[in-house]
Amino acid sequence: MVDLSVKIRDLDFKNPVMTASGTSGFAEELNDFYDVSKLGAVLLKGITPKNRDGNAYPRMAETASGMLNAVGLQNKGVDYFIQHIYPRIKDYDTHLIANVNGSTVEEYLEVTEKVNDLDRISAIELNISCPNVKEGGMSFGISCPSAEAVTREVRRVCSKTLIVKLSPNVTDITEIAKAVEGQGADSVSLVNTFLGMAIDAEKRIPLLSTITGGLSGPAIKPIALHMVWQVYHSVKIPIIGMGGIMNAADAIEFMLAGASAIQVGTAIFKDPFIPLQIIDGIKNYMERHRLNSVNEIVGNIAS
């Protein structure tokens, strides 16, 4: 019997496979297909203080081995979440992690303080890497001083496990990772989407209403993998790796590069069962390689 459990700060996860924020709704949408309690965790759709309509249509463009999105944090706000969504999902037997967003430090604090009071929210993923909002979002995650400032303030009001989600749109992601580790982050999750764009040559128009958007899917995997490996050698806190993971082999590559756990994102759009297939695939890999604990995979590559 292989042991798939992983620990991040004082949280025990039944397995290292999580579903990424913005690709798994509020867990209910996946629960229409299967029992979400099989997942290590569900990262809930990003929450802001107030209702956000998000960006105008079109918000999505398919690209080679991936896609661009420009959703822009559409959600009904933290109060709606607490009153209407949380009561419906709180009994799912998996870790529910809130993805917290804001345009200002005060907004990040408002959402954090409110979700910090919810018993069944296990952790907070501080999203300082959304590329699709005009104010806040990624702007906090691309410089060390602002990443430090927002992490420091949120840490003060967050008693739960604090994960900071990093942007790949930086010169050196290890500097940002070290900066947020220094301010008390318990973990970093990486990477969010890469800024990109797509154009219809015949019509001479951008394919997204916002012109630019975030690239995800297998197209970004080698770059994301490299960033996880870099960060693994720069910080001591556990890493949650993501970026184009489509199958168990991809997930294991991220763990070998140094991720303690992984998130499946865009793959869910293609097949919502992929996270479960990855759990089985990791189990199979451990049996073939005679590994007792999934933690033995983490960072375990020859160098």
Partner: protein, 258 residues
Amino acid sequence: MSFKEVQDFVVTENIPLNATNFLIQLVSSKPLPKFVPGQFVNVEIKNSNEIFLRRPFSVFDIDYTNNTISLIVKILGRGSKKLTEISEGESLSIIFPLGKGFTFPNPDERILLIGGGSGVAPMLYLAKESELNPDNVHLILGAKSVDDHINIENYRQFGNFYFTTEDGSLGEKGFVTQHSVFQNKLKTFDKIYACGPDAMMKAIAREAKKNNIFCEVSLENLMACGFGVCLCCIEPTVRGNLCVCTEGPVFNINDLKW
């Protein structure tokens, strides 16, 4: 909770209906759940490294005895093109059942169904499933030319058919909204249903609103997931931006900001 599945079907038919439309029939190894006309499936595009996402299609027909789903696939781009190249006997992954279908008419109502291009698929299915007296079911089907129309002989028994073509090669020349039935008899209908290009549906919605007739349209916004997690296929409505995949694809025109 609404139960949804991802399942491998086997392609039993892939027949060209005309230059751009194909009929693809798929069989399941299990009994199918009940589909409402207007609901859709999200279909994997196989054998392509380039095409990453599934493609959504309205259900054209279901045979609950033989567990088959039929789709009309119109070649619009690389994904649909690739899909029409699939061979009989190949397996194809389908996510289903997705979305909300049309509101069924009451037994004594007169309905007008308007389909443009591949939008005829859910209209023919609704005509068949409505179980109305065929005298009360009227369909206007529009296309560019006679070659773009599909053969509807098997559906004749379910209603009265009218055709338009932009070049006049079949039925009345012009758009569906220029057809004499639409122009002169619109007020005789209790419900109007439409599926097709946005411009067509908007023109229909304008007239339906003007005449205060119940009208539902099926939208075809670009989507990534089809089950409400990506938030890409949104449509602005009186209730805010809604996902076409879960809150639609069928909308009452009074909910839309058209």
